[in-house]
């Protein structure tokens, strides 16, 4: 018992904090709505005791009128009461339309507010946030449930709670004056029902929390059927029956618990109601007896009958509203954890210092991802000089993309430093630093926007300059694709939002990503395997364009295809996180090391094909 008491107060403090923030959010969003909601709740609850009181007076007058006649004086009194009756009556009738209005507006505004805050927070978030599992979970939950209804409910519960307390007081006061013992007994008789409600609410909540995984899985399977890619596979692999069975099983499991809970709740709640009803009827009996022996008149009886019913109901509502309001609100907790997370990128910093011949150097850089056991990069020592055209080569997982992420300051080296012209790059302002790069990522995103936007977001300041966009598109080899599009650069790139939309092939989408990179016009180009889906001609075009674009720029490309590697100044070979070879093509071939092996694996096939060709030729001749 003691333990519970000690927990209780600090818990309440926490809950109050949790309520305060969302309410503050709503208040800032739209003060009128909050006031409307408050007045509406109040009116709805206070209406009952006020009407009951006025009715009492009316009935008293009727009683008098019945015994001594309906005098003019009584008529006047009753008319005044009629007018008084109208006001709360009318106000209460307005509850519904006002409620509809406030719901619609408040939900819209709140949903927007929540979403905006999430978007703004993401701007500042650093990439390593996503590597922490707990953070990622918080993030996922926020995104999935960014709906204002939940927040609105919090406010509505609180207002409901306050309004019901006021109503309770207005009823309890006269009841206590009438008969304190009866009042207390009535309230006590409502308690079993309240306790049972609370217990079951908790059980249902626990059931839901323990089964979020199940419900998410059910949703996931269900949603596989709305996605073009997965439906394709469902058909071709004929996995429909399997998925359907899995779905049903999970559903059954999830609902098994709920059904049992519901049945239990029904059975146990009956006796509680029983007790409450008996007490209420005892109250009625008592009241009527009081009328019989002349202690109260019928007007007062009508008030008390109403009060008896409403008192217990309001008591139950108060405890229910209390539960709803002061309860662990996972949703809000989650939201604010996300809003307040500390994985921020440090925006401050110096301007980037440029010189005649700029130089980037990695000084003994070691790097491992957060929570990783092994180092992805080991003792990288490397200097990149201005205008160098460097290819970064190596097997999957060797660490090539990681070098780019470190260069872009998406991550910080675990040990060692990266210098630009001798200055640690972490001292520069991140925004200014990133401006010097043009990047094309391996896992570029396929935007369902217009072609112009999909290219233009590479440089949002120039997104409306069609000339720049055209140039970028040409460099990337999109000229002939665009010629085939009737809407040109305004063509939507997917049919999700527009029937006029066009679905491009994967290779064409890569070109858009390359065009984006070209748009961004940085002095240092970082291209991560963009040619994976490009055909031979497109790849060729791409290298040609790259050469055109490079001019005096520094360029670092990651590549698997060694096709155009001979045009590169310098090749860095990465293996298991270390730079194992560094030199131009001829030098490395002479070395007969790792690079030599990679190159031979490709070239020997072409050699074989050439040989076959010669054999065939000889044969036909």
């Amino acid at each position: 018992m003691k333990k519970n008491k000690c927990d209780f107060i600090p818990k309440i403090k926490i809950y109050i904090k949790e309520i305060y923030k969302p309410i503050e959010m709503i208040w800032q969003e739209d003060k009128m709505i909050v006031l409307l909601l408050f007045v509406n709740s109040l009116v709805r609850k206070i209406y009952i005791p006020i009407i009951a009181f006025i009715t009492k007076r009316i009935i008293e007058i009727i009683e008098i009128a019945n015994s001594i006649g309906f005098s003019l004086e009584l008529q006047n009194k009753i008319i005044i009461l009629f007018v008084l009756l109208f006001i709360p009556f009318a106000l209460n009738r307005l509850w519904w339309p006002v409620n509809t209005y406030t719901q619609a507006i408040a939900t819209t505004k709140l949903t927007n507010s929540i979403k905006k805050k999430i978007m703004v927070k993401i701007c500042d978030t650093s990439l390593c946030f996503f590597d922490e599992e707990e953070c990622y979970n918080i993030y996922e939950n926020c995104i999935k449930e960014s709906n204002g209804k939940r927040i609105l409910e919090i406010l509505q519960n609180l207002l409901n709670f306050i309004a019901t307390i006021i109503m309770f007081i207005l009823l309890a006061f006269p009841m206590f004056i009438f008969n304190p013992i009866l009042s207390i007994l009535l309230i006590l008789s409502a308690i079993p029902g309240v306790i049972i409600e609370k217990i079951f609410a908790k059980k249902i909540f626990l059931h839901e929390t323990n089964n979020t995984l199940l419900s998410r899985m059910i949703k996931y399977i269900f949603e596989l059927f709305s996605n073009k890619q997965s439906v394709k596979e469902i058909k071709v692999f004929r996995i429909y029956d399997y998925l359907e069975k899995k779905h049903s099983e999970k559903y059954k499991e999830y609902n098994q618990g709920i059904k049992k809970l519901m049945q239990k709740s029904l059975i146990i709640s009956l006796p509680a109601f029983f007790i409450l009803q008996i007490m209420t009827l005892i109250g009625y009996y008592f009241t009527v007896t009081k009328v019989t022996n002349g202690s109260i008149n019928i007007g007062e009886m009508s008030f008390i009958i109403t009060a008896i019913g409403s008192l217990t109901v309001s008591f139950i509502t108060i405890s229910d509203a209390f539960n709803r309001t002061f309860t662990s609100n996972l949703y809000v907790q989650n939201l604010y954890k996300f809003y307040n997370h500390g994985y921020i990128e440090e925006m401050q910093g110096e301007d980037v210092v440029h010189m005649e011949n700029n130089e980037i150097s990695f000084k003994n850089v070691w790097f491992k991802y957060p929570n990783a056991k092994e180092y992805t990069l080991k003792n990288i020592c490397l200097t990149i000089k201005e205008s160098e055209f460097i290819a970064l080569v190596g097997l999957n997982g060797a660490g090539k993309t990681t070098i780019i992420k470190l260069l872009l300051r998406l991550y910080k080296p675990t040990e060692g430093e990266i210098l630009y012209n001798g200055i640690d790059i972490s001292s520069f302002s991140i925004d200014k630093w990133r401006e010097i790069f043009s990047v094309c990522f391996q896992d570029f995103f396929d935007y369902s926007l217009s072609l112009k936007e999909a290219i233009g977001i590479g440089n949002v300041n120039k997104i409306d300059l069609l000339a720049n966009i055209k140039q970028a598109a040409e460099f990337a080899g999109l000229a002939n694709v665009i010629d085939g599009l009737p809407m040109g650069y305004d063509t939507p790139l997917s049919r999700e939002f527009d029937n006029e939309g066009v679905e491009l092939s994967k290779g064409q989408k890569s070109k858009i990503a390359i065009a984006r990179a070209f748009m961004s016009d940085g002095q240092i180009l970082l291209f991560d395997e963009p040619t994976a889906s490009l055909d031979a001609r497109a790849e060729n075009d791409y290298f040609e364009s790259l050469k055109k674009l490079i001019r005096n720029k520094t360029c670092l490309i990651i590549t698997h295809r060694l096709t155009s590697i001979k045009s590169v100044d310098r090749i860095l070979v990465l293996s298991n996180g270390e730079i194992v070879e560094d030199g131009n093509h001829e030098a490395l071939m002479r070395n007969k090391g790792f690079y030599f092996q990679l190159y031979e694996t490709q070239s020997e096939k072409y050699m074989k094909l050439a040989k076959e060709g010669k054999n065939e030729k000889n044969y036909t001749i």
């Binding site: 990439l127 058909k235 391996q442 055909d535 030729k617």
Partner: protein, 595 residues
Amino acid sequence: MKKTILFSVLKLIIKEKPIISISIIIAVSITAIFAPLYLILTKELFDYASKAISDLNNELSVLSLIFLLIKFFGVSFGEYLIMKINKGLLDMLDIEMKNILQNKLMNKVNELNYDKFDESDFYDSIKIAMDEIQSGSIVKSFSSILYIFMNIITLIAVSIILLKFSILAIIVSIICCLPGFLHQAWYSKENWDFIMSKVSITRKLDYLFFITTSKKTFKENKEYKSFNYFIHKYDALYCQYLTDIIKFNKKNLFLGSSYSLIHAIGTIIIICWIYLISAKGEVTIGEAVMYVAATQKLYNIIQNLIHWFGDASNNIKKANGVISFLKIKAEGRIYSSMQHINHIESIEFINVTFRYPNTEKYVIKNMSFNIKKGEKIAIVGENGAGKSTLFKLLVGLYHTNEGEILINGINVNNINNECIYKNIAVCFQELNAYSFSIRENIGFGNISSINNDIEILEAAEKSGFDSVIEKGEISINHFINRDFSNSGIVLSEGEKQRLALARAFMHKGSVIILDEPSACLDIKTENEIFEKTFNLVKEKTVIFITHRLSNIIFADKIIFIKNGEIKGKGRHVELLNSSIEYSELYNMQAGSFID
């Protein structure tokens, strides 16, 4: 129109869950009588009290009071019991129907032709249907109708009580509530139209939210600093949206409030009239209390009816999203006349021409070729030439009436799709790693062997995925992705490729088609996998698309495609000689390797 939807809803529910639904109907009907009973008992209570003041015969009175209270108890307890049972039944019905409807939707999507996804409306209709199933509008429609029914019965019963007072009272009540009714009907329709018109905006807003906050776009957003661009777009779109919503709702607020007030005035007049009559002694206080309560009850019922009518209207419209989706007919193919095949001996394309539904441009033009069992065919060509589309046609995801595609000499349009899928193993270009277990991801290639550990491990070994399993020190029951398991493994693109290949290897079909199976693999791995693959598939027919022309060494024949047309087919050397375009393409890659 609404009636037919309503009818469909009722038919659906009663057919699927007859016992529960009929129990609910009975329970709701019974509920209707409690309100009027309660009114009558209240009158009796007050009458008793009035009489008891002036009555001297106490003995009898106490018993009758107790009897009255017992009746009260019966009514309230009965009402409570039935309401609780009703709620429980409705909740259960909701859960059961959600499951049933989800199954039906999934089944329907499976039944429908794949080309449905090329219709932009289809995206909308699936999403709407899914949302509506989740929100339970089918069951809500059902319960709304029942509540209307119940309220009408109560209305009649209460009116009968009030009739004793005056028929005028009833008439006035009804006239006053008429504007409210009409307004509600108007509002329902307007609201629905309004929401529907906003669906595409809300989808766009959701999409903008998605590309701003998704992990997938994060790096690019950081680099291009495009967060703000998207946020501005979102703001602009939202502003318009909000303005429209406020305008619409303000109008409704004004009208709704006005009509509520009219109704309130009418009701108050009647109530005051009743009290006046009672003051004059024409009715007892008990009767007055009953009539006033009846009037208020009438008001409440009418309000309820207005509300439930609106609700029902909305829900039925929403339910329509589900019902009409389930009614979409799978087009044209008569399954009974379908033929079956056991092996694939030959695949032939004869003058095949195809364009995607609702598009103008032909993606495949007049293609003809012939593939025999056991051949290894490489399909080569530039991006967008139509290579992946060729596969989709071959596998029966799309159909064409121009030209013929024959398998074993039979037109694919006449072959049961199941058979085609059974005989052809596919590895698509888009790598799907499902958030299920490794076993399932690989096992999907041959679902009947999903519990055969040995086969699965073999398939993993063939594609090189086993190294991923060993490296992670996990079993095939481990989950992929972190969606449903904290210890799930997240795969790189290369690892996903190997997973997809393992899936293809699970399949026992005689034909394997691979769409760029090595796009994401490094040279060494690609070499290993290709060599392994082609060693393992000696008797099978393999058709693969590749951009790395060195891989054609594994092929017997090459089909060279440009702009949807076949520009050359045959052996590599033949093509080098016969097609300038081909040799140009080839030399772009090979040139640098051969000096």
